[in-house]
């Protein structure tokens, strides 16, 4: 059973690792995402150069961004930086999981930040997306 604690700069440890639950990407997710970002590219819904529909490359990015929610109660945070490498297309029907590791935390101009490296994999262990993001911690 997971015990959640409030996310504070002090509680956070560099080297700490997070793992998301596995998540089944559905056609409805692809459709909802297309609406949310107002991008209805035909490859999301029909044939593509990859042999069938593919999802928007950033479709599951929030799974990585929310990794810290798997262990902490996050009162609020701001996303400061994002890096992606898109290695393989994401498709509906995949079951994807993100893993992350806190690689840095620092204070700058009175603000506190955490830096997380992540990979998102399918259920065969193929890396689909990898990258790194920086989040600002907003105190409760």
């Amino acid at each position: 059973m997971t015990e959640f604690k409030p996310l504070t700069y002090e509680a956070l440890t560099v080297g700490e690792e997070f793992v998301s639950d596995a998540y089944l990407v559905t056609p409805e997710d692809v459709d909802t995402y297309a609406f949310a970002v107002d991008d209805h590219h035909p490859w999301f819904f029909g044939p593509s150069p990859f042999g069938g529909p593919v999802a928007h490359p950033t479709l599951v990015a929030n799974q990585a961004l929310r990794l810290r929610h798997s262990r902490y109660v996050v009162h609020a945070g701001l996303h400061a930086k994002m890096q992606f490498e898109f290695l393989e297309p994401i498709r509906a029907g995949m079951r994807v999981r993100s893993r992350g590791r806190v690689v840095d935390k620092y204070e700058r101009r009175g603000k506190q930040y955490m830096v997380t490296e992540f990979v998102t994999e399918d259920d065969a262990g193929t890396t689909l997306v990898r990258g790194q993001f920086t989040q600002m911690l907003i105190p409760a």
Binding site: T32, Y33, H41, P49, V54, A76, K81, M82, F84, L87
Partner: protein, 135 residues
Amino acid sequence: MAIAHDIAVGQELPPLEKDLTQRHIDAYSGVRTRSIHTDEAWARRKGFRTTLAQGMMSTAYVSEMMTRLLGAGFIKGGAMSVAFVKPVYAGDRLTVRGVVKEVREKDGTRVVVEVWCENQHRQKTAVGSASGLLA
């Protein structure tokens, strides 16, 4: 969908315009209480004038612009590095822009684009670069 093959350094990409309604933000983030994205009272309590779009939405817009440029070479082989420099609020209109900075020959042809988003006041909200492979 047509993919541009005559790409030149200095070339400006066709801009994208995005109206960020609360409905779009809700669909993106999932409606939750105590969220600066979907709970206006909570956003105000945290010092913002209203709810904020997720920064990640801007990466999706950059992704759209790059996929229009490079097609499959962005979906498999694309990369992006973006800093979110100003909040984007519900009701803002963003314009997503890009200029080709480099065409690099190494293990294929990689096109590097300087990208940024600006709001309706011409203030930059996200800045960075994105790249992908030319088919």
